[in-house]
Symmetry: C2
Subunit: 344 residues, 2 copies
DNA sequence: CCCAATCACTAGTACGTACTAGTGGTTCTA
DNA sequence: TAGAACCACTAGTACGTACTAGTGATTGGG
């Protein structure tokens, strides 16, 4: 009579309770195609599941089928931006609605931890940056074939539009009459590739408009780079600065104000991501809003398509748009809120 | 000769390659206690592992042993604060160094997704807020006994010190001579419990100093609450405001500036978390720094203790400290950077 | 009315691991 | 020199699921 410390409820228990074979339970629960089950039996099984509070054992399922209902998202170890977070939420939600769990995972460079993909038998692995050759080899060795982005299946990239954001930033400043632009980038070396992409776009816009290339400066709130960068830009005749993101934009503004300049009076600044900080700052920061929610949904559908051949929805071109705020507005009521501080 | 689509390398393959039995491979790889293996055999097995690039199959291991090297951290669905992120990183790292993977997971309220704990066979489940009775029942039904915080093992709480932060905030303002305080809270209902805890602490400090209770106002950058709250506080004679965190502090400052007040001239503001925003803002925001890294490490050791009986290190009392910046500094050089805008 | 096809199931196995019970062989003790 | 103790291993099984092959019963066509 004494059970071994309350065993787990298994499909066999359910089968006994419902008076059927374990196989039937499996058929009912998995809606196995090509197997017909009478309505009455199905109901009896489901009732037994309910009564015994049966939960399938993930490990056993993964072992048997070699699959799991897990999508693994590999995040880079660079700082999580606000926009990414929104993206993540949409992704989690859409996958969740389809019975998949999203696990995010940031590989630690110097950790001895086993990478999660070796551990989880994930149905799909998504990388926010392309995988290294090593990682790809390991994934293949583990039999994971659903990989995004996949070098063997071009077009399976996590279709992020990396260009329209910076283009909008630059065009915004040009349309306001600025003729010499600055570009403010964060010091984090892990962001270098992205910084380069965005700078290239801005440079291209400038050249095409017959202007000189943007004046690039690194800005960070932790060192004294803000004020000197601002002074440098103004000395070079720059009047509008494209910032890598809203955080950097804030650092630029802080630098300008602290070196006695006014924003937007002496320097206009555009951010990127439209994070809460952009609304929150004084002056409020003009920024590019990217529809991260539909981007997240798109990634989810891509993953589901790979995992189960769900149909792909017509890709809704993710729209980037510019939110115009004080940091690029010359003459408004709010302009008077902040004033250049008196020199000497 | 034709294999079934390149089968996975198993322990049996390793055994064959090394010329031993599968059991021996297991003994070598798991360093099974109470089992002696000759140095020669051990080396042969390890060499075979290397040659075949063998990776143990997690699902099979989890199935057989009922355990996994996974610690599941259940995050609330309220906004991730900056300090939490630091905490997470330390936690991930410490666990990783011990061969455990940390998976974070935010249950989606209206999603049909299976909770990850039902799926992963985690060694430990940590909740940043206490689990509901329902969740606890489910965890128990799944045979997961390592739960933090655990109502059945008091003292197994994720030992967060929720009180010293707000106490420092209030005492800082009092020490600067403020005699009537305001308290600024965020509107998010999911934070209500934390808001209450912090407000209670601030109130207690005020009462004990012979002052009246703080004047509470909700502030959010998305509605117009900032300016009106600031005006209200000043009208009530409040000169120092304790903000729930740095984001809220920024909203308070923005509100004050936009209603024609000066910070810290008319109103001093203290934040909480010492996020980048606090240094970045103009004026820079005084804030409470909490040593989230050692907190994270402590949680990790708690989890390892539960999972494998690792010894607990002497708990390093997590120190909270106040970082003094412009937002509570009456007369400094920087004070002149921002000025009250002229009325009318 | 007979054979085929379909229905509604069941018996039984494989997935890859961890570990128990056992097995020869050697060394040590009395 | 018998027996105990130990060493270094192996055979084999259980974990819980998904699914293949098979099995009686019913239906359908000619």
């Amino acid at each position: 009579m004494t059970r071994t410390l309350t065993r787990r409820t298994t499909a066999a228990d359910v089968a006994r309770e419902a008076g059927v074979s374990p196989a039937t339970v499996g058929f009912v629960l998995n809606r196995t195609k090509g197997q017909t089950i009478s309505e009455e039996t199905r109901a009896r099984v489901l009732a037994a599941v309910e009564v015994l509070n049966y939960k399938p054992h993930h490990a056993a399922r993964a072992l048997r089928s070699g699959k799991s209902k897990i999508v693994l998202l590999v995040l880079p170890d660079w700082p999580l931006e606000h926009s990414l977070r929104t993206n993540l939420e949409a992704l989690t939600h859409t996958l969740g609605d389809n019975g998949y769990a999203l696990i995010t995972f940031t590989p630690q460079p110097h950790s001895s931890a086993t990478p999660l993909w070796a551990v989880l038998e994930p149905a799909v692995v998504i990388g926010y940056k392309p995988f290294s050759a090593e990682d790809l080899a390991e994934l293949k060795a583990l039999g994971i074939r659903n990989i995004i982005p996949n070098p063997e299946t071009p077009g399976m990239g996590a279709a992020a539009d990396l260009e329209s954001g910076p283009r909008l930033q630059a065009e915004h400043l040009l349309s306001l009459g600025h003729t010499k632009l600055g570009f403010a980038c964060p010091p984090d070396p892990r962001l270098a590739a992205f910084v380069k992409t965005r700078l290239d776009v801005v440079t291209r816009v400038c050249i095409r408009a017959g202007l000189s290339s943007p004046v690039v400066r690194q800005v960070d709130y932790r060192d004294g780079s803000g004020p000197s960068a601002a002074a440098h830009w103004v000395a070079e005749g720059v009047t509008g600065v494209v910032a890598y993101n809203d955080d950097v934009a804030a650092d630029v503004i802080a630098g300008a104000v602290r070196s006695g300049l006014s924003v937007p009076g002496d320097l206009c600044v555009v951010g990127h991501d439209n994070s809460p900080l952009a609304s929150r700052y004084i002056p409020s920061i003009s920024s590019v809003e990217i529809d991260m929610e539909s981007l997240g949904k798109q990634s989810a559908h891509l993953a589901l398509n790979l995992a189960e051949g769900y149909p792909m929805p017509a890709s809704p071109l993710s729209a980037a748009s510019l939110v115009h705020r004080e940091s690029t507005t010359h003459t408004t009521r709010n302009d008077s809120v902040l004033r250049k501080s008196p020199r000497s």
